[in-house]
């Protein structure tokens, strides 16, 4: 794993730590930020230490991310992001969950895509899954979920 790979996450963490520290020491009333000041100081020191080690190429912990992993991850992360941050509220929980589940299954199921049986199997699994979720959350737990364009 190269040095840049470690520098990016530890750099982001250090930047967040710097921002937290800045807010903690500049916001008023000071009494409300007494504990955040304590924490943010330790946060910043440890983050700078980690970033320094990454810059010097001394960071060894963690397996890192390969390009192959990133490209495998990308479609799933995209579907999950759209599902959580947009579709669940806009389309409705159950509709969005069905679509996301089916999309993820289609993206990661190794079965051949050119077979009608594969698509019917995926559809049946999705219907079964959403039926269980509806039974569990709507009927048993009576959780009110946001209604969207579809349901």
């Amino acid at each position: 794993m190269n040095r840049t790979q470690h520098m990016v996450p530890s750099g982001i963490v250090a930047a967040v730590a710097l921002w937290v520290c800045w807010i903690s020491y500049t916001q008023q009333p000071a009494d409300a930020f007494l504990f955040p000041r304590l924490i943010s100081t330790a946060f910043l020191l440890l983050a700078l230490w980690t970033f320094g080690k990454a810059v010097l190429g001394l960071s060894k912990a963690g397996a890192g991310l390969s390009m192959q992993m990133m490209s495998n991850l990308a479609p799933g992360l995209l579907v999950a992001g759209i599902y959580v941050f947009w579709a669940a509220k806009t389309l409705g929980f159950y509709a969005a969950t069905s679509l996301a589940f089916f999309a993820l299954l289609s993206a990661y199921d190794p079965a051949p895509n050119n077979s009608a049986r594969t698509w019917i199997r995926r559809l049946l699994i999705t219907i079964g899954y959403i039926a269980v979720m509806y039974g569990l959350f709507a009927l048993v737990l009576k959780v009110y979920t946001p209604r969207g364009i579809i349901i």
Partner: protein, 497 residues
Amino acid sequence: MEFLYYFGEVFTPVSMLLLVGGTVGGLILGATPGLSPTMAVALLIPFTFHLKPVHGLILLGAAYTSTVAGGAVSAILLKIPGAPANIATTLDGHEMAKRGQGAKALQLAFLSSLVGGVFGVLLLIFLTPLLAQWALAFGPSHLFWLAILGVTVIGSLDSGSVVKGLLSGCIGMWLATIGYDDMQGVQRFIFHDALGGGVNIIAALIGLFAIPQVLTMFAKGRHDDSIEAIKVQTHPIGEAIREVFKRSKALIIGTLSGSFIGLIPGVGGQIAGLVAYDQTKKFSSEKEKFGTGHSEGVIAAEAANNAMVGPSLVPLLTLSIPGSPTAAVLLGGLLIHGIFPGSDLFDNHPDVAWPFINSMLIGQILMCAFGIYVASFAAKIAQVPQSIMAAAVLGLAVFGSFSVQQSMGDVYVMMALGTMMYFLERYGFSAAPLVLGLILGPIAESNYIQGSLIAGATDGQFAYFFGGALNLLLIGVVVLSIGYSVFVEMRSRRALA
């Protein structure tokens, strides 16, 4: 013997139903590779909202106990540990299964889990009130240091790098300060509407433990992950019972080492199983058989990882310091029901605390009974393709985090924290200290503020927080745990070089 008085609550129809449901569900979840006990308990917490606190905790306790034991199923039949705690079980358990002794290995695993688990819960029953009495002497400064100790111990032991572990703890403590300040109602770090009420602990727990596992499954891509489980043939249970008692040395070493390791905050079942395996091998007269399918290896490892469960809750219930990441999630489960562990837990909520502990005792017996019969069925479920598992867990995480407060904000926080944690974990950061920081942060802050007020009226901050034998002892343990972890890290780095 106060606990005997509360046994009745465990035998009510609702409690028994939850115990059985939690045990069977936990066995199946535990047997599923990729679903850790911590994640299973975190995903179950939203279901406990609709239950009385005692029933919610009975469900979580049953799931905790049986997921650890259920991990043995996939360890033995698939050679994939269901949880890190079952790594040592694969060494001999799978070899036994390959020789056609899968049923025997499973029976030995569940029987030794039962013995280890019951011993561990008995320790929990008898040690907890003693420690709780001692904890009565704790003032704000001690509680502040205890909270710091909880974060630093797990931060330094449960991470690939001590600095990154401690940094994760700091991130968690900072996240806990987001929202409105309790004392003055001042807004702190609210940079998005979703954070108005602060970071919801349950949504965060689900995100931090479930989403990284979902993304890990995605990162493997489209691949055929079908695993062939070894077929289980019948084996007389009486013979397995005789074998367990014949191998009593392995059982005793496993049980004692697991219980002792469970009492040390931050040291998990993974270490318990491996230490017990190693020690049993050292004391065995058949050392050469270890690794080739020797029953002592299975007995020692499984007795240890279940013996660890009860004692890991001792520091949680008395001092609010979780002994393991799963215990940290249980702490979240206690807090959302308004139950604060500590010295007065058994005075204020004996009707919740004792039935919960007692249910874990009964849960061990159910785990063993169901485990032996559910094992082959659980192994089939463990073969569910990861594409289905990942999509199902994602949906469950979204519904679970939403149902906490019926808030989309919690779902956003869950997803954002989970995604962040996945990337951080790839670079050596760890979720357990972050969760500990998030849970113990408010305890540390309230005691720090209270302590500062007392210090202002007495000897000053330094004398109050750094004076007195108990403060110095706690600070000493904090320094010692960090120092020890740094030493271990440097030694292993030197060994690698």
